[in-house]
């Protein structure tokens, strides 16, 4: 349904910043050569480090950012070549829930008009039907209808998050890119939001790209999981295998198998320690199992088992 091929996105830091200090490395490679596919009715989970490019990837797929390389195919056609009409259609079928709910909701728009806006843009239904769609979406995220008159500043953090989710649901899209849909929610509501996504997936064949730091959520929902680090996918694995059969050292760190790394190495911030370098593995500065070759060559994302890809020299063994 959606296919991402060798997608790359760089940010050039402003002239005011590094240029002033005379630094040469002014380019942040936020997404580097990422490829994956999402089938219809599939839940594709993306986990990864803060700043590893997950949000940027999501925005590029929606064509909110122009890529520096690669392509995204939606139902077989290239989205970066869409005509304005096609693009509008695309943005109806593919919805996004931004990580930053505060920037999605217009502070001067009441909750009702925020939810009505996408329906109006896409000319959906008469007033009655719109109202019905809105109350259904609100009910799905457990927000009482009586909140519709309020402005974003009059809602709590978690209520705003759910409002942003309702806004994505209201058009009944085919694919949702959900960037951290359950953060900032208490455990009960968070579990319900995840259960809702799963139900939509099962009953309406909704496809979902789920970006989250919450491994339990990823584990709970995903059919396939990709783990990102430094703009690259370092591991891609079947959802049911994720918990016990992952092999990349970073994935295993995330899962807490080698929690002592953090004590040994202190902080592993890609920004701080190793600006993402073109040489060697992206994870080399923090990897407890790094060897010589890891500093020299970047490991390729290679198949190690059915439906399981890993980019790590250690996993591929010597001689690769």
């Amino acid at each position: 349904m959606l296919e991402v091929r060798n997608l790359s996105k760089n940010f050039t830091l402003g002239h005011n910043l590094l240029a002033r200090l005379g630094h040469s490395d002014q380019i942040i490679q936020a997404v580097r050569n990422v490829s994956f596919g999402v089938k219809r009715g599939e839940i594709f989970g993306i986990a990864g480090k803060s700043g590893s490019g997950k949000t940027t990837l999501g925005k590029t797929i929606l064509r909110l950012l122009e890529p520096d390389g690669g392509s995204v195919l939606y139902k077989g056609s290239e989205i970066f070549k869409f005509s304005p009409g096609d693009l509008k259609q695309y943005r109806r079928q593919v919805q996004v829930v931004f990580q930053d709910a505060d920037s999605t909701l217009n502070p001067r728009q009441s909750l009702y008009s925020a939810l009505e806006e996408p329906l109006l843009i896409h000319c959906v239904g008469a007033k009655k039907q719109r109202q019905k769609a809105i109350s259904k979406a609100l009910e799905q995220v457990n927000l009482p209808y009586s909140l519709t008159g309020r402005y974003p500043s009059e809602l709590s953090g978690g209520q705003r998050r759910r409002a942003a989710l309702a806004r994505a649901l209201v058009l009944e899209p085919e694919l949702i890119i959900a960037d951290e849909p359950n953060t900032g929610l208490d455990p009960v509501v968070s579990a319900q939001v995840l259960a809702l996504l799963l139900e939509l997936n099962r009953q309406h064949n909704l496809s979902l790209i789920l970006i989250s730091h919450d491994l339990a959520a990823i584990n709970y929902l995903s059919n396939r999981v990709a783990v990102m680090y430094g703009g690259k996918i370092v591991e891609m694995i079947d959802g049911s295998m994720f918990e016990f059969f992952s092999r990349h050292p970073y994935t295993r760190f995330l899962q807490g198998f080698n929690g002592d790394v953090i004590l040994q190495n202190g902080v592993c911030d890609v920004h701080a320690k190793s600006r993402v370098s073109d040489e060697g593995c992206v994870y080399v500065a923090c990897c407890p199992e790094a060897r010589d070759e890891c500093f020299k060559a970047s490991p390729e994302l290679t198949r190690v088992a059915f439906g399981h890809l890993v980019a790590c020299h250690r996993v591929h063994g010597p001689g690769r």
């Binding site: 700043g51 009960v188 730091h213 902080v267 920004h271 320690k273």
Partner: protein, 336 residues
Amino acid sequence: MKNLLCVTGLHVNFETSTGAVRANRGVNLTVEKQERLGVMGESGCGKTVLMLSLMRLQQPGVIAKGSIIFNGRDITGLSENQMRHIRGRGIALIPQNHSTALNPVYTVGQQLGETIGRRHGRTGLWQIIRTRQPGYGSPAYNEIKDLFNRMNFGDERFFKRLLDSYPHELSGGMRQRVLIGMALLLEPQLVIADEPTTALDRATRLEILELLGMLAGKTTLIVVSHEVDAIKSICNRVAVMYGGRVVEFGKTSAVLSSPKHPYTRLLLKSQQFKRGGSISITAGALDMVTFPSGCPFYPLCPQVMPVCSQVEPAEVATGEGVVACHLYHGGKECWK
């Protein structure tokens, strides 16, 4: 005087077109000196409003009833001017939405410099004039550098880049740490962190928890969080809120291992949902304008009794803690 903060019967209301939102309805809370208090609770139950009220920043909300005694002084009646002395050096807040908390038109360095200025009592016009980035090697620069070193915030070169950055150029985790740094620069007596670890990856989360843990013994800390393990690792006491009130309050170990209030139980249970599991309750749907009569939790409560829909339970002491639920009234205030 052991208590740094003592909140009694706090009511905070917001007037809206659809009726008054009663965000806090009689909150009782005490925080001892050097204590680390965790606050959990349902989405929209009034945690942020309570934290803002402690700094009298709850506008447009109104403190309708109750008192907030900080350092032996009731701050609900203080003037804006007097409050300005308490905000910052007395109580510092690390706000919930870090994306809008930093000023987008100033660099991080300028904002940190301003924070130091504020600690020296420079406010108002002086603050605006002084919004200049601390120069390399100046006392302010060194102070910030020392702090950020202790916070493990990267090497010198990274630090310089950070000071020159505008907030939108940082990732969420970085902004979060800058805000914590700002609060620490003020050297306050009480630090309030409203969801400091939301949306961070595991390494960054551990780092921030460690950082907050570092504060232990130096200042008093209130942490609002939905992450039970975060609360478990930092806090010695915990308050659970529901429907604008504190429904359970006690030692972290006691509350987390043997929760008393049915909501706390539900919360802890939902923590451990599994692949393939499901949840049927619809929580988080209170609009805080109209409440069910009686206990606000009764429509969802698995242990509901006839009395629950009629009378709102008062807080009762159970061992070392407090719980507001009819199950624990031992028939004393119970309608038979």
